[in-house]
């Protein structure tokens, strides 16, 4: 009887979360799929069932394919760089020195900021005329001009967000900065879990710090790395706020990401069925990619 009581208690405690999950996550997910099977213009009196036609149209839509490529480009830039930075920060903070708490907070703070704040902040940094980035790079170029006049112009500036070549890398850079603190904490927790005696044994055997990292820390950190990489692939393929606020997808579609395209179709054009299909196709792509990652990075028992 006791176990039955426990089950009831467990169910009782799970109920609120389960309800919220069902109502606000699972139900919309299923409903979204239902919507994607309809020609669902928000003002139309009755949505028309069209089967998989939305999916066919989306797959034939070159802007969707373009958005997929742009998103992939973003993920390729952000995930390795972001995780490398997070790991580097975590390894640094794992050394025992005074003031680690301060640095932890400092590196984590950007994560707490909302995307609008971050984007507006970086818009100023990237501003062509008044931006800090152009200011310092221009000064550096001016200084180097005296040494190598052919390579460095006397005055230099670039339009970070108005140039189709630099716009996406610029957005990737701010995203790395914005998200690094989150994964840093997870990596730090992973590092703390590595048994000290293994590292000490390696040290006694005469392994250099770098050798110790690659031979002990890195293999044992693998589950953490898998988790962080998978989560950042998922979250960065859903990049939206940065491109929405900073570029709106431009210049000339160079920062058009999939979720932004979905938003434009759904809430700009109110073509909800089409937008839902875009969302589901992205979901499918991310799912496949995540499964591949699990295969590649799985810890061998």
């Amino acid at each position: 009887m006791k176990s039955r009581n426990q089950t009831l208690a467990a169910a009782f405690f799970l109920l609120p979360y389960a309800t919220v999950f069902l109502v606000f996550v699972l139900a919309p997910v299923v409903y979204g799929f239902y919507i994607s099977l309809h020609k669902w213009y928000i003002l139309a009196p009755r949505p028309e069932f069209i089967g998989l036609r939305n999916y066919r149209m989306v797959l034939g839509d070159d802007l969707f394919r373009l958005a997929m490529l742009r998103t992939a480009f973003f993920v390729v830039m952000v995930v390795p760089a972001g995780n490398a930075l997070s790991l580097l920060l975590a390894v640094g903070l794992n050394q025992n020195f005074r003031g680690t708490a301060f640095y932890k907070v400092a590196y984590y703070l950007p994560v707490v900021m909302s995307v609008s704040v971050v984007a507006i902040l970086w818009r100023w940094l990237y501003s062509t005329e008044f931006g800090l980035l152009n200011h310092y790079l221009g000064q550096a170029s001016g200084a180097m001009h005296h040494v190598l006049p052919k390579v460095f112009p006397a005055s230099w500036k670039t339009e970070w967000l108005n140039n189709p070549r630099t716009a996406m890398p610029a957005i990737a850079l701010l995203s790395v900065w914005w998200g690094a603190g989150g994964n840093m904490l997870i990596y730090l927790a992973g590092l703390k879990n590595i048994p000290r005696q293994l590292l000490e044994a390696a040290e006694i055997d005469g392994a250099s710090p770098i050798k110790r990292f690659w031979a002990v820390t890195w293999p044992l950190l693998r589950p953490t790395t898998l988790f962080c990489v998978v989560m950042s692939v998922i979250s960065s393929s859903q990049v939206f706020g940065q491109t929405y606020i900073l570029t709106g997808g431009g210049p000339y579609y160079s920062t058009l990401t999939v979720i932004l395209y979905m938003y434009q179709q759904g809430f700009g054009q109110y073509q909800l069925g089409y937008a839902a299909a875009v969302g589901y196709l992205l979901f499918a792509a991310v799912l496949v990619f995540t499964l591949i990652q699990f295969r590649l990075l799985r810890v061998k028992q």
Binding site: Y17, I42, P45, M57, N162, Y252
Partner: protein, 424 residues
């Protein structure tokens, strides 16, 4: 980022509290003879103050109708209207831009006005034909035009005089055609400090979309065919219009490459001599100290006259009680009858009687811009226009910024437009 469990819990608690607190018995409002009308618009600038004044006067003159006006900035206005019409909570009278009418009318969200117009009070003969025609969709009338806001030429009088571009009386003389425009703009583009980039520009592109529609219409082109079924973005007219605009930047060097929304500030602060903008920008110039400007019809760049325009239309939703519909019609008529007052805030009225009145002729810029009413160019009436416009925008932006050649960019916009139109 996904919300955490704690967030979900908070939401859950909030919902529970809301459910407990919000489900009390509703009080039914006391019956009275006053009809209350919800009136929505997006006039969040100085135009809102003007409209507020007109509404207040209407309320004091009509004791049986109470209009409650709600101003929602245009940025989110159409979201609110659309959701209101789709799921309830729509206003009783509201404003739509001309280009938004087809998709609301086509989905039967708007009240047809033919019976009300037939009963009289507003006669078609007193309206300029283009705005009046644009109020129709598939043969039925859904709106009454409050105004028309065409694009026109704003020019800086001081800079013109300084460059010696004056008529025999010594007044600044705005360009009337392409030849004059290019010659004037060349004189007005000055590099004072000699660093190779002009500090004063003859012309500046402000809103690419409307600037393009103006030039395009003057070349006899349009974004879509007459029946709005075909894209006409890859036509000789479309290419010629975009080539000309590209030449302003590249070949003639009279305009800077477009860069965001700061271009208008250049005109406001006297660093730019000419710009093509809507009449609604007037109030932002009138507030500017030490700026002497004037307005003129758009110069004739192409082979015919043409100027982009949009209109504020007054509409009512399809679902409306007869009582409110009657009251709404009274209000709409009142707004139209009093559109001189509205024009003073920086608009062009569409009633012939008002356009011919001495009071209107005393508004210099409005009067100049209103000369274009017979040939103004609305964007094509199409339920897909919201999808098509961004394609055209992207092509124009790409060509002017040197990202893509004009013909290539237009061919891409044309292909995408065809795809979207085929979806309908």
């Amino acid at each position: 980022m996904r919300p955490s469990r704690r967030t979900y819990l908070l939401i859950w608690i909030t919902i529970c509290l809301a459910a407990v607190c919000g489900c009390g018995p509703r009080k039914t409002p006391a019956r009275s003879k006053v009809v209350t009308l919800q009136f929505w618009n997006g006039f969040s600038g100085p135009d809102g103050t003007t409209m507020e004044r007109i509404v207040r006067r209407f309320n004091s003159e009509h004791p049986d109708i109470k209009v409650r006006m709600q101003i929602i900035p245009w940025g989110t206005y159409y979201d609110k209207v659309t959701l209101g019409l789709a799921y309830g909570g729509a206003p009783d009278v509201f404003v739509l831009h001309c280009d938004a009418l087809p998709r609301y009318a086509d989905s039967s969200s708007l009240s047809g006005l033919d019976d009300l117009v037939a009963k009289g009070g507003l006669s078609e003969g007193d309206f300029m034909p283009r705005p009046w025609q644009a109020c129709h969709w598939k043969g039925k009338q859904y709106a009454i035009p409050l105004d028309c806001h065409p694009q026109g030429l704003y020019y800086n009088v001081d800079l013109f005089k300084k460059a010696g571009i004056v008529d025999e009386h010594g007044n600044a003389r705005p360009p009337a055609n392409l030849k004059e425009f290019l010659a004037d703009a060349k004189k007005l583009t000055v590099d004072t400090n000699g660093d190779g980039t002009p500090d004063q520009w003859g012309f500046v592109f402000t809103w690419l979309r409307t600037n393009y529609v103006t030039v395009l219409s003057q070349y006899g082109g349009s974004l879509l065919s007459k029946d709005s079924r075909e894209s006409t973005l890859n036509t000789p007219q479309a290419r010629a219009a975009l080539d000309l605009m590209t030449d302003f930047v590249g070949k003639y060097k009279i305009a800077p490459r477009p860069e965001g929304q700061d271009a208008w500030i250049g005109f406001q602060t006297g660093k730019v001599a000419m710009a093509l903008e809507g009449i609604y920008m007037l109030s932002s110039l009138e507030q500017q100290k030490n700026l002497h400007f004037a307005g003129a019809p758009c110069p004739m760049f192409g082979k015919q006259r043409g100027a982009w325009a949009n209109s504020h239309f007054l509409v009512m939703p399809a679902k409306l009680s007869a009582e409110k519909r009657r009251a709404g019609w009274t209000f709409i008529k009142y707004l139209s009858d009093n559109s001189l007052e509205w024009a003073k805030g920086g608009q062009v009225p569409v009633r012939k009687s008002i356009l011919a009145s001495p009071a209107f002729r005393q508004l210099p810029v409005q009067y100049e811009f209103s000369k274009q009413l017979p040939y103004v160019q609305y964007v094509p009436a199409s339920i897909s226009i919201n999808q098509v416009l961004p394609f055209a925008d992207a092509a124009v932006e790409a060509a002017l910024c040197g990202i893509k050649a004009a013909d290539e960019a237009l061919a891409e916009a044309d292909r995408r437009t065809r795809e979207v139109l085929a979806r309908e």
